[in-house]
């Protein structure tokens, strides 16, 4: 935040013509422009998303065909991971832990917040940039370094972290620690987390300040597009929920490195031997600190997705969103409630029935605003003439798919059914329904919707539809069988479920999931081709190809440095579509009459 740079950066009124004095490195690599940073986030996190998906495609082989050598690529992994092409259980555990970590912390959240939030939010509020451009750049680079740190885990002796993405103590404290060798995968995981938390902390401060301070003239809070509201609430969740995990990571680091016993109970026996810890710690403490973050994190994964879907739905139904204020109130209430439901992840830990009753109650309450939001979006479709373009298809698929994910969560929020379902594939099915056809479909909707803004060209419709139908069919075939596998009692972390009779009985369903996962992978190929080819070959479009009302479409495409050649003034709400008496079926926010 050095001052002199700040002045060269935006010290002139005439920022519309670009800044020839910025070299390649300052313009595209160490840029402070929110649009470049947004694109950097997008590229990096899409890469991580793809990498995390590759990990799970490997895991699906072991699950479908336990103990069989992985075809084609099995020999590439070497003796420490896959001797003879057969996956070792330790490596399987690393893949599981890293898949979860990468998808959540390096893939989906940076895409929703870092990429979409960074690129779209300042444009939608009519701001020239984020409130703290340098801090914005820093938060990207801290995220980038955190990602690299996470990946180095694969290359150290003992492999990457393998205690699950939740890193439950005491397993995570004793894992991969032998005498004098504690700098292994799990320690690297903790260090990586500290980087990622710092990055999202810097980002969330920036987002909140930007939304509060830099709204264009006339853009009151209840004229903000719903996407901006979603980013606003999400930023508060990141700001306040992440620090306890940072504290937890520091404590676990101390347990591993300095030999403390924060999470190590007295008299713990590891591998038949009394551990060298002094004891007195509490494994439950880790779970409380972890889930205090990780439950709000669930809403960090879904709220911006709801925001994107709302934008796409309002635009393609050519109608205002049904119940805009209700949506906003529900969103804020959801954000608040998400801080007091965390222990519903811990019904099985023996924390007591009174605690369980409290958290079961709050969990039931939090489902109300979620259902309100979904219902309002569904009602928005009523009576409209829907434009079925690719972003809208993904947004429409989001609604029922997210509903399945949400409703299957209710039995998990009540202690009695949770006793049966806890830690089974049912849980995996539930939250993957929320994240894959929920958050990730919203991400796809967002990419197809805003790609013309970033590049000035549309993505190909045919490839987009191929991508859409493949993804919808694939995602359902992957995750629907998991509910039945889970209800049959198969635990989520098993390396080979066929060793148990109840697992062997449903092995066919697990194989269906695996084949569907590879099909889902194939369905992404049209998207990847489309994404890169359309940069040059896509159909050129005007500044406002979707005929949308919000401010990001009121700038030239791609938006210049400083975003708006003329600082916009806002006269109306965000979704004035099909206004009676208006000359066109949409009235942009910055139009007076």
């Amino acid at each position: 935040m050095a001052a002199h740079d700040h002045h060269t950066h935006d010290g002139h009124q005439t920022h519309g013509h670009g800044h020839p004095e910025l070299g390649f490195w300052r313009k595209y690599v160490f840029s402070t422009d929110h649009k470049i940073i947004g694109v950097q986030y997008a590229i990096t996190s899409l890469t991580f998303l793809f990498f995390g998906f590759c990990l799970v495609m490997l895991m699906r082989w072991q699950l479908a065909f336990p103990g069989k050598p992985v075809p084609l690529i099995g020999g590439l992994f070497g003796e420490t991971m896959m001797p003879g092409g057969v996956m070792l259980p330790e490596f399987y555990n690393s893949l599981g832990a890293m898949h979860g970590t990468i998808m959540v912390f390096l893939g989906v959240v940076p895409l929703l917040v870092g990429a979409f939030g960074n690129y779209v939010m300042p444009l939608q509020i009519g701001a020239p940039d984020m409130a703290f451009p340098k801090l914005n750049m820093m938060s990207y680079w801290v995220y980038f370094v955190g990602g690299i740190v996470m990946l180095t885990g694969f290359f150290v002796p003992g492999g990457a972290a393998n205690s699950g993405w939740t890193s439950y103590a005491p397993l995570s404290v004793v894992s991969q620690v032998s005498r004098n060798m504690w700098f292994t995968g799990q320690t690297i995981w903790l260090l990586g987390m500290v980087f990622l938390i710092t990055s999202s902390l810097l980002g969330s401060v920036n987002f909140i300040v930007t939304i509060i301070q830099l709204r264009a003239k006339g853009l009151e809070f209840f004229r903000l597009p719903f996407f901006v509201w979603a980013q606003f609430v999400t930023a508060f969740l990141l700001l306040l929920a992440f620090p306890p995990l940072e504290a937890a990571a520091v404590l676990q680091l101390m347990d591993r490195v300095a030999g403390t016993s924060f999470f190590m109970p007295t008299g713990l026996v590891v591998s038949g031997q009394q551990g060298h810890w002094t004891g007195g710690g509490s494994p439950l403490l880790w779970q409380h600190l972890f889930w205090f973050l990780a439950h709000p994190e669930v809403y960090v994964l879904i709220l911006p997705g709801m925001g994107i879907v709302s934008e796409v739905i309002a635009n393609n139904t050519r109608k205002p969103l049904w119940g805009y204020r209700v949506l906003v109130y529900s969103l804020v209430f959801l954000g608040f409630m998400s801080f007091i439901v965390w222990a519903h992840h811990m019904f099985m830990t023996g924390m007591g029935t009174r605690m369980a009753a409290f958290f079961a109650t709050t969990t039931m309450i939090i489902s109300v605003p979620s259902v309100v939001i979904l219902t309002a979006l569904l009602l928005s479709l009523h009576g409209s003439c829907i434009r079925f373009n690719v972003p809208m298809l993904f947004a429409l698929a989001f609604l029922p798919m997210f509903a399945i994910g949400g409703l299957t969560g209710l039995p998990l929020g009540l202690p009695a059914p949770d006793i049966h379902l806890h830690d089974t594939y049912y849980v995996i099915g539930h939250f993957h329904y929320v994240v894959v056809p929920g958050s990730i479909f919203a991400i796809f909707a967002g990419i197809y919707h805003w790609y013309p803004k970033v590049t000035g060209r549309k993505l190909n419709e045919f490839l987009g539809k191929l991508h859409f139908w493949g993804s919808v069919v694939g995602a359902n075939l992957v995750f629907m069988p998991m509910f039945f596998v889970g209800m049959a009692g198969v635990s989520r972390r098993l390396y080979d479920q066929t060793v148990y009779q109840h697992g062997a009985n449903v092995q066919t369903l697990t194989q269906i999931s695996s084949f569907a996962a590879w099909f889902f992978g194939l369905s992404q190929i049209p998207f990847i081709i489309n994404f890169f080819a359309s940069i040059r070959a896509g159909k050129k479009v005007s500044d406002n190809p979707w005929e949308a009302t919000t401010l990001e479409w009121a700038t030239p495409t791609p938006p210049p440095h400083g975003n708006f050649p003329v600082i916009p003034v806002v006269y109306r709400g965000p979704y004035e579509y099909s206004v009676p008496g208006a000359s066109r079926d949409y009235v942009p926010q910055n139009v007076t009459a």
């Binding site: 001052a3 920022h15 020239p128 451009p133 830099l214 700001l239 007295t266 002094t278």
Partner: protein, 202 residues
């Protein structure tokens, strides 16, 4: 106004009544409250959970006089920090920088006392983080606090030397930055005000 493109870097926003940097600092401090709040909560949970097994007597010994001295050092440093900001507000850069230097000096006194009179003798006496849960908490919490002090020294040092160039072009902007630094500095002091009774006086 210092910059045409980004509004409210210096002048307050009509709705919030503060400039962006100050709002950002308050939000950052809110997250810091959650960080240290989680640590204090962990302390409570571990201590209540331990019951009679909680270490006491010689196994939890910390020097109250040294702790009191350091508490006073930090309180005085908070005063000098405010004096630095007040001097700049009255347009006196030389005096402002003098108080900034004084703040850094006091912070260094705190760190040196912590290190030479507390940490090193503890290590020599084999009172390590791994000795018992009390020392584990003591070293983790005061260590994290000390890192915050060192971070403060770096920031104040920046504004004392290279960052002070901003005074020539935009004194109000510079003064605001010292105000934000001061907010952070008072927060770090406040954390110590909680740490001192919790760790030393129990």
């Amino acid at each position: 106004m210092s910059s045409a493109a980004l509004p409210y870097t210096v002048e307050p926003h009509p709705l919030t009544g503060v400039y962006s940097g100050k709002l950002g600092t308050w939000l950052f401090l809110a997250s810091e409250v959650m960080l240290f709040g989680a640590l204090f909560s962990s302390y409570v949970l571990l201590r209540v959970g331990a019951g009679d097994a909680w270490p006491s007597g010689e196994a939890t010994h910390l020097s109250v006089p040294i702790g009191t001295f350091n508490t006073l050092v930090l309180i005085v440093s908070s005063v000098t920090m405010v004096m630095a900001w007040a001097s700049l507000k009255m347009g006196n850069l030389a005096k402002g920088r003098m108080f900034l230097a004084l703040t850094i000096a006091l912070a260094l006194v705190f760190i040196v006392v912590k290190l030479l009179l507390e940490y090193i003798p503890k290590f020599r006496g084999h009172h390590l983080p791994s000795t018992n849960t009390f020392y584990a908490l003591y070293f983790t919490m005061t260590g994290l606090h000390a890192l915050h002090i060192i971070g403060g020294i770096v920031v104040i040092g920046y504004f004392l030397f290279p960052g002070a160039a901003l005074w020539r072009t935009d004194p109000e902007y510079y003064t605001n930055r010292i105000e934000c630094t001061g907010l952070y500095w008072h927060f770090v002091d406040l954390v110590w005000i909680f740490l001192f009774p919790v760790l030393y006086l129990t």
